[in-house]
Symmetry: D2
Subunit: 390 residues, 4 copies
């Protein structure tokens, strides 16, 4: 049984977080909601529908007696990868579906939001459902970040380079000096502990043994990365993993994503449109291979996720998701939950790499220093950056 204030708080948080997804899409044309230029990017209307489907499928349907599903076909269209819940739509197909229309997706959101708001203040609520609700809200926040990264990809790969929003707030430019912070060999603890929400992959606070290490106080800037490019970093195989070098050659890679060399100057696509590179800004949109090659060129390395977490109270983070040199693997004692919710994290624990921190695209309050983000090593389209260690 949940107290009434808590319930009111849930309604408030639910409403605010759900509204934020809608706000992110405000600057879009209807056409922008529909396309899927590469398999990793989803159409914005799919994100809006999928996050709604999550609440309908995992909270309303099992808990609200007599709940009427908005449209029985939507399970097929908006499920992502929950094998337990039904046949999965092949991801590449998302960009082929002109229907449901954007307007229908917003109707779907409205319908589910009303049902959820009623439910959250009803006496049907209980603690198990609270945990699911928290998961749903954090899930929505993850997709808010993906919305921004995917919108940037969609507009940034259009030859007209449309502006997303002009009033994107200015970066503070404080990335001038890079100092190393020192840590000494010994036993440390990592992993989530305490109150509040976390994902299952953060659970199981446990001891790790670390050797002496140093980690940089600041992120690598565009200017520093440009030095690597000018030093022919993309042509020198010695700095690259074998798989990274194959990636460079197959893609004829020469710069971070969104960078264009136009009339003698390096420009990049930003959400405010095409602009000249700001040399003092933290570097963005590089993949793990590029991050590793840069570190090798600097005769340093990327930190492990344990080093990062231990050190994280000593530096500012949150501008870029920071590539670590840790594979995404279970913590000691990790157990998948039963049912569809158990598919959230565990089944991805192979051939992916951990990113730590958060980025400008991460919704406020969504991350923590135990948060374990993860992506395959070749992807550039997230707001990723580099912090060095040695």
């Amino acid at each position: 049984m949940t107290t009434e204030t808590t319930l009111q708080n849930f309604v408030k948080r639910y409403t605010e977080i759900r509204q934020h997804s809608v706000d992110i899409c405000k600057p879009l044309e209807i056409e922008d909601y529909v396309v899927q230029p590469i398999v990793d990017v989803s159409p914005p209307k799919w994100h809006l529908g999928h996050t709604t489907w999550f609440f309908e499928t995992f909270i309303l349907i099992p808990n609200v007696p007599g709940y009427e599903v908005f449209d029985t076909q939507y399970n097929f269209v908006f499920n992502s990868y929950y094998e337990t819940v039904g046949a999965r739509v092949i991801r590449t197909d998302r960009g082929n579906l002109s229907r449901p229309s954007v307007s229908d997706v917003y109707k779907y959101r409205k319908y589910v939001d009303e049902k959820m708001q009623n439910f959250l203040t009803s006496d049907l609520m209980n603690e198990n459902i609270e945990a699911l609700l928290e998961l749903g809200l954090n899930h929505e926040q993850q997709h808010q970040e993906l919305l921004l990264t995917d919108i940037k990809f969609i507009l940034g790969h259009n030859p007209l380079f449309p502006v997303y929003k002009k009033e994107i707030k200015e970066q503070k430019k404080f990335y001038k000096h890079s100092e190393m912070i020192q840590f000494f060999e010994g036993i440390y603890e990592i992993g989530f502990e305490g109150e509040g929400f976390c994902f299952d992959n953060e659970l199981g606070r446990h001891k790790v043994y670390l050797n002496d290490f140093e980690i940089s106080q600041q992120l690598i800037t565009n200017g520093e990365y440009l030095e690597f490019m000018n030093a022919k970093g993309y042509s020198d195989f010695r700095h690259w993993h074998a798989e990274g070098w194959d990636w460079v050659k197959q893609n004829n890679a020469k710069s971070p994503l969104y960078w264009h060399f136009i009339e003698g100057k390096w420009m990049y696509y930003t959400l405010e449109g095409l602009q000249e590179i700001d040399l003092d800004e933290p570097l963005c949109h590089i993949n793990f291979f590029e991050a590793s090659a840069f570190a090798s060129w600097k005769e340093m390395r990327l930190p492990t996720e344990a080093e990062w977490e231990v050190a994280s109270t000593h530096f500012e983070w949150g501008k870029r998701w920071e590539w670590t040199n840790s594979a995404y693997l279970p913590y000691p004692g990790f157990k998948k939950e039963a049912g569809a919710v158990g598919e959230y994290n565990g089944k991805f624990m192979v051939n992916q790499t951990v990113l730590r921190g958060a980025s400008e695209a991460t919704p406020a309050g969504h991350s923590r220093n135990t948060y374990r983000n993860f992506f395959p090593t070749h992807l550039q389209w997230q707001f990723t950056g580099i912090r060095l260690a040695k």
Copy 2:
């Protein structure tokens, strides 16, 4: 110098034909204009832009002094395959472009239409331009048919099976008896001659020598094709070309495009939505391999294009594009025109097969019995049918 009545006629035809493209798109949601489910299908907004770009590029820019291009980027976006005019957009990219928006594309049409209407009644017109204008209008009509086929593909591959238009007019069902018409061995003439527009690939009326042949008065119906399916026609390699048999196995082909076996019944997607198969209607949406395999099963064959043209005054045609067994090759004396217009037909004269007639999706007045349509042998998405010969 063109007379004033002719000019007024041009304006009228131009306006009517241009309006027809817009009319075809009226039932669409904005989202439907944007997607490209397979490489052969183009997004409707691309068709609307591309046909407009044709008039701007080949008529307005070279002939109207001081003409201001609507948007210099559009040449990149709306060119299709005219190597002479500039870098080609790779076809697969069309479905990734959310901009220009549908509304911008309609502004583009309006802008070009006004300039064209002024130009057509000005004293800048002359006979060379008339020929180009005719080509542009016929080009627009070809894309009107593609608009319909592509809209059908987009909606027909959406799991919600949206209706395009309810008032599509009813088929007359007169396809009951199939009689063979006989022709005797000898010299015949084929190819275009006389007044009026034709494409360059129809030119050069010439003699051909035909053997005795018979050709069917009527098209194959759904019911007749269903007999072939029920006789396991899709599992018997003896009826198929080797390449067709590979296509069957790779695609696990079992029926024409848009057919679905649902709860014990054969249904198909039509522009009016999902419906039960009408057994008396002429078969539609089969590729050349299927047409040939059906003919083989019937112990008949497909007609050559010369046979079809010679016989065409003796039967009704225009419901379906009819697969012939003729490869698309130049007529004797065929010459490509110089410049971009010369790229219209000649460069496709390899590895494609001729279709004759017209279909329900063809704009009224666009076809003739010398018209040579052509597509690769594996494609099903046009309104294609079967007429047998022996």
Copy 3:
């Protein structure tokens, strides 16, 4: 009932033709018999086994009471594309099979040859089998040519450029002047008629109507083709079919197969090893796209197969398979035979192009001026050349 002399002749022809396949392979190392560098090339030991399998399967098994199959697994390994006879080995797999060994394949040949020689002089022979025997011998001759083209490909794509045979006989170099032969409009006849063997695709001698045409007396030489290359023929899209232009760009094509630009000189791989280009020799190893582009650059065209056949008594042919501009389609009245033998030709009559004549690699006596060879348009590895028409 076949007379004894005829039977003796059959044994002689059978023995000579079978021996010729073995002779072609004499210069090979065992390793050369095994590899398959591209899907179109078969390992030499596969050719030796497959031609043997043909006699075993279509003659010995059905006609010799109590015949014992050499190895029951060989049907699986050496069948090529006869759907009627059993599961087909996927072509790409041929190069993965180290067994049966070369020595086993030769044992297989010996075994079948002995059984065949006994059979051919027995009273089991009859006229139906004679026809099959002729087909089998012509089939073996076709594979003799493929043996040479495939051996050339295997050795010519090895970085050591091994010599096949030094004593390959010298070309007569008489290709100096190119004169056009004129033909007048009218009815002509083409197709096979008379005694002797022909393939089913040549049958049905029939009338065709040809317009005035001219055809060149001589084949295009390497020197003439080099002029096209030097005139940037491979960079000018106007001469190419759209599909050909895609081929040029995807393969970065710049010259015929086997040509290499080494230290300032054009060299080519020949069966005698790497040599400097002989400018007076007839051009070899170009595909249909290259042949068409060259013709376009010369402001001429390729002949149709009917033109070629009608004119063929007026020029020397046999050095190169000559690309025509005719698609490979059935002659009027063409009928596939029943059973596996009917799969020989008919099922390939789509998306292939006719070549006429013969080449240096064709066994003596194997070709005729009604012979219809055919290949897909992108392939270069046959001994192909160019004769122009207009």
Copy 4:
């Protein structure tokens, strides 16, 4: 300066190890040396040439004044992935090269072996070269194991299932009971230390903190795995990583590699030919996805590489390479060596998984309990098995 006895020992070890590669190939037909059925498998003659090239390139050329290279082209043919040494042959091409012939490769081995034997007893030897020599010998031993795995793949994918050798020695069958060994939480040390050879990736013995864990004394048997198969383990997505589940569906996977269900019985291809499954033998030829799914079905997990190494003195190992749940990553303080030798290990430290132990195919004396073998997660062709932990 190296003492004479040491030098004699080097000659002895060099000679024995080199001879062992030749012995492994003794049962082969020449044809078996040439083919490459999948990209991960190399032709046996390539292994024989590549290991020879290693000694020629890294020892003889830089250290023997006036050394004459056996064939300058061989660097191109037998280099594997040393970017520093020259242009790399694309791996897929290895199976297309019929030359150098097997006999030439053996001549190459003989030539280099003589030069090496002379060199090893000369006064040109020194300690740096000793280290390289050790690397070269261990490199040869790694390829001896690959020779066996690749030969098994080549013969095991031939429809004739040829026998490699009949006298392969019998397994001891002691895998009856599976007991768990317990370890307690605390600091442990892993990594190589002391005398003798090890690879650079084992260096840097260091402390790790382990939680309580249990590890099985014995490997999983065929019988235990068959229970998983019979319990529909290959059809239940809940046990699989998402990437593993995709692998199952794309490959229609149903059993370990080399298993065939023939006439109601499970058979497998072994180096002695096709045989009935031995239920008591340790399971072999499963990939990481299968190992993980099996562990999940057993409600256990795979050990980490640190757990394995710590526990390894308490169980027998060496029958199968054992999949761990550790990604292949650098140990603390890992540094790549300069030059080509530095490419040996470090550049593969991404998206691969560690295997520990050794297998029946590993040359005697080649492995140790700090040895870090690694492969991508989808590969089955090594002699891999499963040990469980919890």
